[in-house]
Symmetry: D2
Subunit: 317 residues, 4 copies
């Protein structure tokens, strides 16, 4: 089901060289549908601050809470409006091979530049099954494989990645296991992005990582750009670290969702099972913003502490 | 759920002036999935021959046999690959208001330039219900309303169209009731496209129609272009008429599907409930092509009579 | 995908002998979801008044506004709670052969006793296509074919029915074309139900129809029972006729939905594109109820004229 | 959206007392659809051997590879055909609260006796989010909460269970963390089923577990019945343990799928990402069956070693 039209041709090399990719937040309207206007604002802020690629519908973007038609629509919309300015990586992975195949086929059809593929979380499978799963999707286009055992319940061991490395569509690995694993890959010439914002500075400058697929860059894209593009910069990294620690005290994207709402760039709407951080953490965030400098954060409004009543939690949508 | 990004802004006036829009065929692989490569070929042939717009997933394109994710994907793909060269009109209508709203929202999100909306066929509704239905979707973007009582079981009377005509998103009407109805609208300044290939020449030159939304132009786009753009031309119209008669002897797109397969531009795969025309009609088609001239038809291969065994009919896909 | 478990075995003969089948209304909660509690009440009223079967998700039950999972769920629920007391006929037909196959497979899996199959409305097809369509579903279990050209846009001619009549799963035809057509079938030994409440008395007593698949019986099941089971009874028929006329002044189920809301047995919630009848018609209904006798109608509450503001119209649900 | 019909009323106490529940395998046809006839055979074997309940579409039954309409259909089918003989527990949990709500609503509507709910795997959430998630579904009917951090990536700590324990719909916990955790709950009067076949004998006889939700009982239901109902029986437990070890050497249900195919009770069809165990393990299984005794296993055919070519792996279905 492939198209050979020119606009669909993105080379794997175009993906391999990206240093800063943001796992973009999906904002919602009060009834739980996508807030596309707010989304456009978020993406524009990324582009303006030098971010080179975005993951659409990642765990950060709550792809796991989307129907597939919502998901493909969001990818198609992003390609249509922003595909000339930023690389669009669709998180079309799934723990169901059928869904991963269909989602990726549709994502590439609507023009995404690359796919992000997780191993089959929750259901899990054998190493042979893992290879079959990835083989089923790698033929479609540039692909980043995502390893995050703390979510998936199962590590993708290096021997699986190495057995897939010959495939010219494999752009690289988003790796969350740590910098030693990253070094193991980069020594072998495999492109890696750190999946941990707290380790990405060192990953980039000390372990050979090409860059980061970041959550924090939703908030401070310019600072993350400097961390990845400038030079080794422990001072800047230390400045950002308290924000990173704050963001990940609860499973992502709880912190991010809370933060963006308080920055006034998204409505304070949560799709369950996500709920906002409690008020004492929300106060902490405002202080963090003031410490780092409001001007480094996305949005124009004053940062504020939202009340519990300001938040809308939606279970049916 | 609207986007205000520049690429999404298509004016209703950009739609109103289109003279030749093709209700494009959707080709299939042997397992019933879309054959995107063949589809791209069909669209390119349209562009090269001066067609200005296409309806994606119309009744001709068998939108009624698609899942919504397939449908939105095809719209998104078309926008992404061809949206700069041809106007993309998504048939996001439905007899369910919910589906019409959701489909149109998604279609505009992935960049379609206009929506085609049918009245609620089969289920039908009252005139008040009809107005509520169209009101639910007209706010989203440029819209063509489609009236085809022989399919829908219910005429959209002029008073309904007139009550919607103040809406700046209403581009016009695809009208199949006949040229007198068309004149009634064009006298009132409402843009109309003929939905009947056998009447479109007269509609254009004698009844004020802006142009046609055509099935026949899938086969002979250049001739249809000349019919709509050149000048009143009964000779050419008479030359094309036997092909039109052949195409519509059974419910569309049965004839079109058979023809395109025999021209070698799509695989001979039918999604049920459509089945090919019988062999004697298939022989007739080859003779028609020879009479009109193979060079006027899409594709490069020799036209051939396919055997019954060449066709693949799929019920599960 | 068949099951041979005993509980799934319903013989076609068990369907052929049903005289009174109600195309049951689907009631909604204010957010547009099914109101299962109200639905159970409607079904119980049917059972108590001697109705022998129900069509779940017919055009009356607004199957065309359901997602397939809603539809199959409603069939499964009905079988589970009422399948021992009343025959459950799922309207698993579609204009897409794929959907008709899948829906019927699932409907029989959850225990429906028979399927109702429409010809491919709106998309239409050739006679050969029609036979292929029905052949694709007839193997699954007892089946009623539904002919209503005023909705489908295409008559199912007797020769198609006759070519399918040898199939032991064909229970019969729900025929809306008129009593002459009915006689044509019953003379041939084909079971027919009238699909027109205004003709069903004559169909039953004068043209050989087995019975009726009725809308009116949602309201006055006992009277319809008497019409079908008692004896030829023009007096009773004349008494019911004004109600029938009132019900069908706008496309069904607009009248029925309005009536049941005013009888207090369902909430006044409409899924678009359906909207209530205007107030003057709503007043007429109250008078009709008083004329015929409230005791013949379902429900216990006083009939009342609802205000415009009492109705909730939902487009997203 | 609740029904108060008698057949839907299952008390939580009816669930709490079940000692042996099987997480039933879902068998497939060569095209990947459900093999309902084989499924019926599996369920009947469970009933005949004294199993009291089944989990439909659990991780063992590959609910994660089903569409929701398939899943609800399978629950509805099971209720319809077997609901009088065995308790039907639908795994209507999800990491999306929306899906968990909708799936459970539909599952109860088609008559399931209880729901199994996992915490939001992969996406994860905070403890507050966890409570909100479970609160969203507990109102619907009897519920078992499922804790398996090795799959979900996140432990459900006892304080969350305790905060839900007052809800009369909470039947208990399927716990995989180990027998100390089980004891902690049973000391508090909370019903627990062991989710680990290798620990279930001790859990039942030494730690207060009510019973087991078992994978192994798909193969040897009679032996598992004896382990749970008879008396403390280390001899029998030791006899079964090599089979259990064999089953779980790769992520479940890989071993189970391989075993049932070799026993001739299901077709050797795997939905990816699952693939069969390699031939040397398949030989081991045949020896295990001979050691334990073919008569204790489900099915009537001789156990055999299947060839690699016998297996069908499906990625699109």
């Amino acid at each position: 089901m492939r198209s050979f039209e020119v606009k669909n041709r993105t080379s794997t090399d175009d993906i391999k060289c990206l240093r800063l990719i943001t796992a973009i937040k999906t904002p919602y309207l009060p009834d739980g549908r996508f807030d596309i206007e707010a989304y456009d604002g978020l993406v524009n802020a990324q582009i303006e601050n030098g971010v080179e690629g975005i993951i659409v519908g990642g765990t950060t973007g709550e792809g796991q809470l989307m129907t597939w038609d919502e998901h493909i629509m969001l990818i198609g919309h992003t390609v249509n409006c922003f595909g000339g300015k930023i690389k669009v990586v669709g998180n079309t992975g799934s723990n169901s091979t059928r869904e991963a195949i269909r989602g990726s086929e549709q994502g590439f059809a609507v023009g995404m530049h690359a796919a992000l593929h997780i191993n089959p979380y929750y259901g899990k499978t054998s190493m042979d099954g893992l290879v079959s799963h990835f083989d089923g999707v790698l033929s479609m286009g540039p692909t980043i494989i995502y390893n995050v055992p703390s979510r998936s319940g199962q590590d993708i061991p290096p021997r699986v990645i190495q057995s897939l490395a010959h495939n010219s569509n494999l752009a690289g690995v988003k790796e969350c296991v740590g910098n030693d694993r990253i070094k193991q890959y980069t020594d072998d010439g495999i492109v890696v992005w750190s999946g941990n914002d707290d380790q990405c500075h060192d990953a980039r400058w000390g372990y050979g990582a090409t860059g980061v697929i970041s959550v924090t860059s939703n908030l401070v894209p310019g600072l993350m750009r400097e961390l990845m593009f400038g030079r080794e910069n422990s001072t800047l990294n230390s400045k950002v670290m308290p924000l990173v620690d704050w963001l990940f005290q609860e499973p992502n994207p709880i912190g991010l969702n809370t933060a963006l709402a308080q920055l006034g760039v998204v409505r304070p709407v949560f799709r369950l099972p996500y709920v906002p951080l409690p008020v004492e953490k929300r106060i902490e965030f405002v202080n963090l913003v003031k410490g780092i400098g409001r001007e480094h954060f996305v949005g124009e409004k004053d940062v504020q502490v939202l009340d519990d009543d300001d938040f809308i939690l939606v279970g049916r949508y």
